[in-house]
């Protein structure tokens, strides 16, 4: 068996191998080959459902367009309102003429002038200057009294009266027999039941008022008390 010739590596191989031991070089080589991790299996379904739920994002410029159009509409309507409103305006009918009263000299003014008395002709002249109509006399119209003519009627004479003569007979007053009893009638008077005892007097006791049914009678009932005099 023939021996194959041996080949020797380059002399700097060892140094190259040692250089590969450099930490930073190894990190750089392995950083892009780090093992990949996988997410959970149902992640896509969760993403899909969230995508379906979420409303699409409306860009900001669309909000701007909406806002600008609203402002435009408001401006146009405002201008139109102002234009139409001024045309339709009518002057109100004046039914009352307001005139200003002349300013009377105040106490301060009078003090300044030093003259406290203002005469009537002065005020009248001021009124004339302001063209204020002076009080004119009011015409009073009096109504003449209306006379009522008297009616003259002939006297009424009854020749044949239906009832010739009316006699009213006095009926004697019916006087009742004299009695020694006094009657007191009371409606709803709250009277305290009084109980009298004849204890020790030797008189037989009347217990009719002491009975509860009779003593506490209803207030709406009529009580009749009879006393002998």
């Amino acid at each position: 068996m023939r021996k194959l010739p041996e080949h020797s590596p380059k002399s700097d191989l060892w140094s190259k191998i040692q250089a590969q031991k450099d930490f930073d070089a190894q990190v750089k080589a392995h950083a892009s080959n780090l093992p990949l991790k996988e997410p959970k299996a149902d992640l896509w379904s969760a993403i899909e459902s969230e995508l379906d739920q979420k409303t699409p994002v409306i860009p900001l410029w669309k909000y701007g367009v909406v806002a600008a159009s609203l402002v435009l509409i408001l401006a146009i309507s405002g201008i139109a309102y102002l234009e139409v409103g001024t045309k339709d305006m009518r002057e109100p009918v004046i039914t009352e003429k307001i005139t200003t009263t002349p300013e009377l000299p105040t106490s301060k003014e009078s003090k300044d002038t030093g003259d406290n008395s203002t005469t009537v002709p002065q005020i009248q002249s001021q009124l004339a200057e302001n063209h204020i109509p002076q009080n004119q006399p009011i015409k009073k119209e009096t109504i003449a009294p209306v006379g009522i003519p008297k009616l003259e009627l002939a006297d009424l004479i009854i020749e044949n009266p239906v009832v010739p003569h009316l006699e009213i007979t006095k009926t004697p007053e019916m006087e009742g027999p004299k009695t020694l009893h006094k009657v007191r009638i009371s409606w709803g008077l709250k009277e305290q039941p009084k109980f009298k005892t004849t204890l020790g007097l030797g008189i037989p006791e009347d217990i009719s008022e002491r009975q509860i049914g009779r003593a506490n009678q209803n207030s709406s009932s009529i009580k009749i008390k009879i006393k002998r005099e």
Binding site: F23, V27, H30, L34, P35, L36, W44, A46, I47
Partner: protein, 176 residues
């Protein structure tokens, strides 16, 4: 996937809002986007929720995309932003001074992508986010600082911190 080009016909159909095209795009990109989400957030349920929201936003706002060729990058950015927003409460940037840093740590071993992935997951939230965005996703420090809302210097120091931690973790994994 990021280097892979999507079919123009598919993109135009997605732009038209066709559900089948949307599903096709989802199937092609779900692994890539979920991996980003999961690595940033470090929680499966939260990553799924974020990815769902991201796809909904992608399909709803796709009409705003001016350059359809940049679709994949645009989808990535939306997902990363959402993932960062989700994990904002959790992300805490540890003060570097308090951590014992070993200067010029020697790293004399080989590791593969699987091992790197394990080590990345064990990083603190802040350092992990910075490392992922810069080293894995390819963002610059400036972009990273804007995304995370931190200073560029913080981004640089956190990346350095993340790398030193990764060296330690990978060394431990190799020894185990």
């Amino acid at each position: 996937m990021s280097s892979q080009k999507l079919d123009n016909n598919l993109i135009s159909n997605v732009l038209l809002g066709e559900r089948s095209a949307q599903f096709q795009l989802f199937e092609l990109t779900k692994g890539m986007l979920y991996s980003i989400c999961y690595r940033v957030i470090n929680d499966e349920d939260e990553a799924n929720d974020v990815l769902q929201d991201s796809y909904v936003e992608i399909f709803q706002k796709i009409h705003t995309l001016k350059n359809p060729e940049a679709l994949l990058g645009w989808m990535k950015t939306i997902t990363i932003r959402k993932a960062i927003l989700q994990s904002k409460k959790k992300i805490h940037f540890e003060p570097i001074e308090e951590v014992k840093m070993e200067a010029n740590e020697d790293f004399d071993s080989w590791f593969d992508a699987e091992m790197l992935d394990q080590a990345i997951r064990s990083l603190p939230d802040g350092a992990r986010a910075v490392f992922l965005l810069i080293e894995v996703e390819g963002y610059s420090h400036k972009e990273n600082s804007e995304l995370l809302g931190i200073a560029e210097s913080t981004s640089k120091s956190q990346l350095h911190y993340a790398k030193s931690l990764l060296k330690k973790r990978i060394s431990k994994l190799l020894q185990a």
